[in-house]
């Protein structure tokens, strides 16, 4: 043991558990109707996918709304709608962290397009503020207009406008309602984004078909692709895991 070992041993000495920890942990065990994103909560979210109304054309998904009525699609667009519904169901079940279905956002204004493009860059599980998004698109004074552009997002969830919250930490407006925004952000908090396979040493985004084949006992979570690379993993070429 050299001096650095002593310093580290002292710095990382075990902390005392707070009073009542064991009781609180025991109380947190899964029970019907409660628990952090337990089967009941994710099941309810996943069931919500049936309530999405999807419009899609040959180029991709044009609009998602919440409520009664069947999908409106062209013949080829039906494929996009089906893919969107499958991906949304996986996302809401915590099995997917990205969307591959094409979107068709033609016809929206340049400003809204730039806002949605920037919103789509916010990584899964992270949030940012309206003001910060305004700054990122080079319009720092336009946070209210950014809020309006996001409020008119034709494809909520697919373009993750729920990841933008007010500067004071409150939710702000959400097309599908505040409870849905809470549910989505809670889901994203409980779901890892980058999962490595300990046997193949490949890191995938959650939702990749290779990620689904990983055995539970082989799963290792990484905070970034460069972290994974630093210990000998390589990014998957199928889901194109990239720097987050």
């Amino acid at each position: 043991m050299d001096q650095l070992d002593d310093l580290l041993a002292d710095y990382f000495q075990p902390a005392l558990a707070p009073a009542g920890l064991a009781d609180r942990l025991t109380w947190s065990r899964p029970r019907a109707g409660r628990g952090l994103m337990d089967a009941g909560a994710t099941g309810q979210l996943a069931a919500d996918v049936a309530r999405f109304h999807i419009e899609a054309n040959d180029r991709g998904v044009r609009r998602i709304t919440y409520g009664p009525g069947g999908d409106e699609t062209t013949r080829i667009g039906a494929r996009h709608a089906t893919q969107a519904r499958e991906e949304l169901a996986e996302y809401l079940a915590g099995l997917r962290t990205f969307f591959a279905v094409p979107l068709d956002l033609t016809g929206i204004g340049d400003f809204q397009a730039s806002v949605l493009r920037e919103a789509a860059r916010i990584p899964y599980g992270l949030t940012t503020s309206y003001a910060e998004l305004a700054r990122r698109i080079g319009r720092p004074q336009a946070s209210r207009a950014v809020g309006n552009a996001l409020g008119a997002n034709p494809v909520p969830v697919l373009v993750p406008c729920h990841r933008i919250i007010r500067g004071d930490g409150s939710w702000g407006h959400y097309a599908f309602g505040a409870p849905m925004k809470t549910a989505l952000l809670t889901l994203e908090r409980a779901t890892p984004l980058l999962v490595g396979c300990a046997t193949t040493r490949i890191v995938c985004r959650r939702g990749c078909r290779h990620e689904r084949r990983m055995k539970e006992s082989s799963r290792v979570v990484f905070a970034s692709v460069s972290d994974a690379r630093s210990v000998g993993y390589r990014p998957c070429t199928v889901c194109k895991a990239r720097e987050t």
């Binding site: 650095l4 310093l7 580290l8 041993a9 002292d10 710095y11 990382f12 000495q13 075990p14 902390a15 558990a17 707070p18 920890l21 064991a22 609180r24 942990l25 025991t26 947190s28 065990r29 899964p30 628990g35 952090l36 337990d38 089967a39 599980g125 992270l126 908090r189 409980a190 890892p192 984004l193 980058l194 490595g196 396979c197 300990a198 040493r201 055995k215 539970e216 006992s217 082989s218 799963r219 290792v220 979570v221 990484f222 905070a223 970034s224 460069s226 972290d227 630093s230 210990v231 000998g232 987050t244």
Partner: protein, 166 residues
Amino acid sequence: MDDAAFSKLAEDYGARLYSVALRLLGNPADAEDAVQRALLKSFVARNSYSPKWAVSTWIYRILTNVCIDELRRRRPTDDLASAPAHPSSAPAIGARVDLSRALAAVPREARVLIALHYVDGLSHRELADIRGISVNTVKSQLARGKAILRAALERGPHGPARRPAR
């Protein structure tokens, strides 16, 4: 795993897991939340447990996975570097502050391995199993992390950073 088994898991490992989570995440509320989530995940994934693993290794893997995903959501300087000073080490607070600052210069994976190694005395083999890497990678990461720490400590708080924190 039934209710009784879950309670036993929480009783047997709760304090140790908390200690590790606190050192990884740096604040008590996040640490307790991470332990709760890890225990719930271990309950949900109980069928994936293989007897070839020690229970502690299996549950540490789950906890580390939860903590690392939490670190992903943080700004680079919010994690380990902000671990609170231990009250019993008051005379050494200066050294702890220096070490805390120096740890910020260590890449995240190496920093996590150092924390797991020193908080709970986990062996290189256990660390390798927990992070899904080889024992040699564990050794090289620990050595590299400590070399960066030594250099940062020698340089002192005002020296130029040799590599940015990630």
